[in-house]
């Protein structure tokens, strides 16, 4: 490979003693207890997608009940609340967070930065296994006596640990333990990502030469390390309330007419802790998506990302601001109402850097050379859904407008659009984009198109009309709305329509699964750089890259990651490790 230029070796780019780790000795250490970030990434993604499919099936059951109440006799109110709780928790924590940071983070950080691996590979491996344990504990809760918890994914006490809520015996305990494990595992991974980004970059890879994907994942990891402690504290305290009878969150309470021994606790305290985690969590998912989408758009429009500096600053600004907006989830929670002024203002301010990002994506398309490949389709669909969801966020962030809309279907539609559909479209786009690097084969584009159109149009048709149910006042988390006078029969028809679309969209994911499995063997060979991309992961000497990534010498970075269509260059892209445009012809 001509561009594996022998450059000045940066000694600190790599731990010296780590060299000996690059030779796994058996099948077990190569594929199972692997310390290779790429294998860990695939393990993370595979586990997360598997549990994600469980969440998809749960969502089908939810829609079955909402669209056609009473049709499924086995879904009673208790089961319904268990379904929505587990669906929400799995999607937010165990799928989205795990795929973006554990999956994309592990795969892309070392490759895009020109590192051989994560800085602490052993810790990285441990991180995955603890994550797997957390998922298993979660799965066990489905089969525990009383079933999983049905407290809603927000797990508000006192409700979450009292009789009258399904899963009060075991479900909630296992849920909390699973979350604590997840956080412990994630912390190990997160420390790793940050140190790797800070210290293991290839020579020449300054911060301002990092692809936006890395900026997004890096910032999101920092947010996660600072947000998860709040959930950890909340989970431990609730666990003690439940098991030992402490009263951290529990005021004096009647349970079925009987006075419990609790007293003096503050339920709002939990809400503060939960949302101190919960709002940054939105950006933990969104920032990597922002980054990946920036790179997809730039690559497939053959044009540099517009306003790279603004994009970086916006990511940093969003990350910083995301810690002072949490209570916008609590406008009607009974907290001091004067907080509303502060949190509404910060919340709407955060819209400005976010809007800048949207403008810059769209302006990247302007005068581009747009190839509508499958990853590009997903990236554009992301912009549409994210824009839609972001704008409805302005309704909910603006404190008085939130009053009638909070806890209605409007909220459900909003957050599904902005942190459900939008990031998942990015995950799909990212998989279509990087699958050739992971496996050496292309995914089938025709199947990809089918998958894309059904998913995108379908998801939009599900969640856009849902906002109007919320405007009407239809509350969320209602097992059935029968008997509510202000809900007209037509709303029920709309619900049935939404459910039908949801079944189709869910079924379309089988196409995706089939594509992934089939292309492993039968996909067209991809070569090292099928998209003619500039970033380092496409410049590895071998595809798929082996453990250690770079062969004998690390790449040297000579330019920023967006040198597409540079005037005067023979090709329409200049890889980051290309010293001089004149040599561009030598790139295979």
């Amino acid at each position: 490979m001509s561009d594996a230029i022998t450059g000045p070796q940066d000694g600190s780019a790599l731990l010296p003693e780590a060299d000996e780790l690059y030779h796994p000795h058996s099948w077990w250490t190569r594929y199972v207890f692997s310390q290779d970030a790429k294998v860990i990434a695939i393990q993370y993604s595979g586990t997360a997608l598997a549990i994600g499919f469980v969440a998809l099936i749960l969502s089908w059951l939810i829609r079955l009940q909402l669209g056609f109440p009473g049709l499924a006799a086995f879904i009673g109110p208790a089961e319904y609340y268990q379904l929505i709780t587990m669906h929400g928790m799995i999607m937010v924590v165990y799928l989205l967070t795990a795929v973006f940071l554990g999956g994309f983070g592990n795969y892309l950080i070392p490759l895009m930065l020109g590192a051989r691996d994560m800085v602490f590979p052993y810790l990285n491996m441990l991180s995955y296994w603890i994550y797997l344990l957390a998922v298993l504990v979660l799965v066990v809760s489905f089969f525990a006596p009383g079933g999983p918890t049905g407290a809603g994914w927000t797990l508000y006490p006192p409700q979450a640990i009292l009789a009258g809520t399904p899963g009060q015996e075991w479900g909630i305990v296992l849920m909390l333990i699973s979350l604590i494990l997840f956080i412990a595992g994630f912390t190990m991974g997160g420390v790793n990502y940050i140190v790797t980004v800070l210290q293991a970059r290839a020579p020449g890879m300054t911060l301002m030469r990092m692809p936006l994907t890395i900026w997004g994942i890096f910032t999101a990891t920092i947010l996660a390390l600072l947000a998860f402690p709040a959930l950890f504290v909340g989970a431990v305290m609730m666990l003690l309330d439940r098991l030992l009878g402490t009263s951290f969150f529990m005021p004096a309470i009647l349970e079925a007419g009987q006075r419990l021994r609790y007293g003096g606790g503050s339920p709002i305290l939990f809400q503060h802790l939960f949302w101190f985690f919960g709002h940054p969590e939105v950006y933990i998912v969104a920032l990597p998506a922002f980054g990946i989408v920036s790179d997809l758009i730039s690559t497939h429009a053959r044009k540099n990302i517009f306003g790279y500096r603004m994009m970086v600053w916006a990511i940093v600004a969003i990350g910083a601001l995301s810690f002072v907006v949490w209570a916008h989830h609590m406008y009607v929670s009974g907290m001091n109402p004067y907080f509303g002024f502060f949190f509404a203002t910060t919340t709407l301010i955060i819209a400005i850097p976010t809007a800048i990002k949207v403008y810059n994506w769209v302006l990247t398309l302007w005068r581009g050379d747009i190839h509508l490949t499958v990853p590009m389709l997903f990236a554009i669909a992301f912009i549409v859904t994210f824009l839609n969801g972001g704008l409805t966020g302005l309704f909910l962030g603006n404190v008085v407008v939130d009053v009638p809309l909070s806890d209605t279907m409007f909220v459900v539609a909003h957050f599904h659009m902005v942190m459900g559909v939008a990031p998942i479209l990015v995950i799909f786009g990212g998989i279509y984009h990087w699958y050739p690097k992971v496996t050496g084969r292309m995914l089938d584009a025709r199947l990809g198109q089918v998958h894309f159109w059904i998913t995108f149009i379908g998801a939009y048709a599900i969640f856009f009309p849902m906002h109007y149910l919320g405007l009407l006042g239809v509350p969320r988390r209602y097992y059935e709305t029968a008997g509510l006078g202000f809900v007209p029969p037509s709303a029920q028809s709309l619900n049935a329509f939404i459910s039908l679309v949801a079944f189709v969209v869910g079924a379309a994911q089988v196409v995706f699964l089939f594509n992934i499995l089939r292309s492993l063997k039968h996909g067209a060979p991809a070569g090292g750089n099928p998209w003619h991309a500039t970033t380092l992961e496409w410049q590895t000497p071998e595809t798929p890259p082996p453990h250690g990534n770079w062969g004998p010498t690390l790449p040297v970075v000579y330019r920023w990651p967006y040198d597409y269509s540079v005037p005067g260059a023979p090709e329409d892209f200049l890889p980051q490790n290309q010293p001089d445009p004149a040599h561009a012809g030598a790139v295979p």
Binding site: P8, D10, S12, V119, F120, T187, G190, V191, N192, I194, V195, L198, Q199, A200, P203, G204, T206, L207, M208, R209, I222, L225, L226, P229, A230, F232, V233, V236, M237, L240, L244, G245, T246, S247, F248, R261, G263, G264, G265, S266, L269, H272, L273, F276, N304, Y308, R309, V312, W313, V316, A320, F323, V556, V557, Y558, R559, W560, D563, L574, P579
Partner: protein, 233 residues
């Protein structure tokens, strides 16, 4: 939450100072062709030290949040009904552990391996003593029957906070034992220095956290400051 926000602000200042040195206003497309547009990188901490620092930043926020939760939940007039002298003793043990580690670090730097190993052992003993003292405090609360009852939750908070802090101490003890074992068993214990330095950083941080927690839970000379930081108004 004032303390939490102050903590976050301090981290933000650190991050901003660091970002300020990263040439974020550069136009990266203008520097193409050079592998070192910013010159040769300056000295940096070792990955392990940086990783530990990142972890401690995260763990520090965990304790800051506990302090905030305590301030929201427990009235200012409710100190833990426990003899503070026991806690002064454990606190001094923790201070002793830190001092011993600093001694070990200095000894390792001067090349006095046996001295360093002895100081490590001393620090570990002090750490064990600290945990033992905390356990006695828990037992006293348990026997009084107020460990998890009591409407002001001060005792429950005491147990929760010291348990989480104690788990971190336990992890520090494991690390100390590992370093000490390496020092005692390896035939060529040449480079204990960095490991001892890591332990020292970790134990110093845990001491700092403990001093805050101690000041929060009991009347200490610095309690007024902590109250001012976490109970505005």
């Amino acid at each position: 939450m004032t303390l939490v926000l102050l903590y976050l602000a301090a981290l933000a200042v650190l991050a901003a100072r660091w970002l300020g040195q990263q040439h974020l206003a550069d136009r990266p497309w203008l520097t193409a062709g050079s592998p070192h547009p910013l010159g040769v990188p300056t000295t940096r901490p070792s990955p392990a030290r940086l990783g530990l620092g990142v972890f401690l930043a995260s763990a520090g926020l965990l304790f800051a949040l506990l302090v905030a939760a305590y301030a929201m939940r427990v009235p200012a007039t409710a100190p833990v009904p426990l003899d503070p002298r026991l806690l002064w003793l454990t606190t001094s043990l923790l201070v002793g552990a830190s001092l011993a580690l600093h001694g070990a670090r200095g000894a390792a730097r001067r090349g006095r391996e046996d001295e360093a190993t002895a100081a490590l052992g001393l620090a570990a003993a002090a750490g064990v003593g600290f945990l033992g003292g905390q356990a006695l405090a828990w037992r006293a609360l348990w026997e009084a029957g107020i460990a998890h009852q009591g409407p002001d939750a001060a005792a429950a908070f005491f147990c929760l906070i010291t348990a989480l802090h104690g788990l971190h101490i336990l992890a520090g003890l494991v690390a100390l034992a590992w370093v000490t074992a390496r020092g005692a068993l390896l035939p060529r214990p040449a480079d204990l220095g960095p490991s001892i330095a890591l332990c020292t950083l970790y134990w110093d941080a845990l001491l700092a956290v403990w001093l805050v927690l101690f000041g929060l839970l009991f009347r200490t000379p610095w309690s007024g400051l902590i109250d001012a930081l976490c109970r505005p108004g």
